[in-house]
Amino acid sequence: MIELIGVSKGFGGKAVLQDISAVMEAGKTNLIIGTSGSGKTVLMKCMVGLFDIDEGQILYNKSDFFSMTEKERKVIRQEIGMLFQGTALFDSMTVEQNVMFPLQMFSNMSYRDRMKRVNFCLERVNLKDTNKKYPAEISGGMKKRVGIARSIVLNPKYLFCDEPNSGLDPQTSMVIDKLIRELTVEYNITTVINTHDMNSVMEIGDNILYLYQGHKQWEGSSRDIIYSKDEKLNSFIFASEFLQEAKRMRQLDMEKKQTL
């Protein structure tokens, strides 16, 4: 579990995050949503320690990340897996070497055991026959899956995904969403996802944090979104007429289920 308590962060005197408090639960997909420039990526980078925060606390299982010694932080970092927006795969390494890298660095496993683990993770994300390929030789969706495989290879407690669906077609996006959801539940991971993708919000949003101009505007689940009266949230989520229609349909559907 990750807790944010009054987190604030600014750059050059300009506040980017203001007094954000939230709880990211284990075994659930915690989504951070908001318009471009609302501070989603900054919040995520603060959570993984790439940026220092100006005020507040970020607690990993009740321990404040920014009060830890460098050694303690390293331990926490080894429990973190992250999928970057651009995947951040090492382009000089093959798919297999990319996934094996954290194992080589942090485990004492034999080569055979490492290979077993790598193959297991690649199979888990439905990637076959790509072991010897370089990132430049595979598609965007495959790169994301390699990124996920690399993130889970050390059995992380925390999984961060920055825009996991950016640049992917809707079908592949759904596959990636489903995969992240399955892994979260299967390994009881605290998963935090930054996304713009409304389909992800509705499908896998167990806990949603909506940021508006650097502060927390709304918090709830994908079910709560349907009934939310928050204008800013509604104009962000249901921006098009099509989505507004979908919302009405979903509301009717849920009401029908309740009356039954």
Partner: protein, 245 residues
């Protein structure tokens, strides 16, 4: 601005030193860099050394017009200029272009594509894992290249003198041993270690702290080469003033 950059450069150097997460991986990275910097630059070093040596002999002979100066003096001049200046300084200026731009663009690309962030999140000291092996590899291989360059330059000078009929092999070999002071070899090595450090650390600094996109990687790469060359020339003068006067 300049002071901030210098401070950040010093902090980068300080932060490189921490206990490696895995000695084997750091060693592997070091060997990879030795191959990249040393073997990767071998071709260009051989070519420039041969030509500089050959040209030195021809031009020295052209300037020594007095009949009272023995021919062996040409070999002495070629030897001393190769060891004192051409091999360490010219080779390192060329290496600043070849190795420096490679280091800066490699790290810059890793920064822009978030590969450095990915390593950081894994809990790896990225300065230690990415920069330290480059500097160590440069400190090991560049002096070797400089020594090789010295030998090749003098050898090419001898061949050029013989082929063009300027100086016989016997006179050249006689000139090579005349008034030889081993101290100049020590001086050349001090220079090559200093220049190796300048090239690798300055290029790493510009690459590691790139911000932006592909355009900025190009700019950082150019800046790394230009600043490295300036510092090589400054250090060249400072070392000459310090150790030769």
């Amino acid at each position: 601005m300049l002071l901030t950059s210098f401070g950040r450069y010093l902090l980068m150097l300080r932060d490189m030193f921490s206990k490696p997460e895995n000695w084997k991986m750091y060693w592997r990275q070091f060997m990879l860099q030795c191959s990249d910097i040393g073997i990767g630059s071998l071709g260009i070093v051989i070519i420039i050394s041969l030509f500089i040596g050959g040209v030195s002999t021809v031009q020295t002979a052209y300037q020594l017009v007095s009949p009272i100066i023995p021919k062996s003096t040409i070999a002495q001049v070629v030897r001393d200029s190769m060891i004192l200046e051409f091999s360490p300084t010219i080779t390192c200026i060329v290496l600043a272009g070849v190795v420096g731009s490679k280091i800066a663009s490699e790290l810059g690309n890793m920064r822009v594509s978030e590969q450095i962030d990915a390593l950081e999140i894994m809990g790896i000291n990225t300065k230690g894992y990415l920069i330290l092996p480059k500097i160590m590899a440069a400190l090991l291989t560049i002096p070797m290249l400089v020594v090789l360059s010295g030998f090749l330059g003098i050898w090419a000078g001898e061949i050029a003198g013989r082929v063009s009929g300027i100086i016989s092999e016997r006179d050249f070999l006689q000139g090579l041993v005349q008034g030889f002071r081993p101290y100049i070899v020590f001086f050349a090595l001090v220079k090559s270690y200093t220049f190796a450090f300048i090239i690798s650390s300055i290029s790493s600094y510009f690459g590691y702290y790139v911000k932006g996109g592909a355009l900025e990687i190009g700019r950082a790469s150019t800046k790394a080469v230009v600043i490295s060359c300036i510092f090589i020339l400054l250090a060249d003068y400072a070392l000459a003033a310090l150790l030769l006067t």
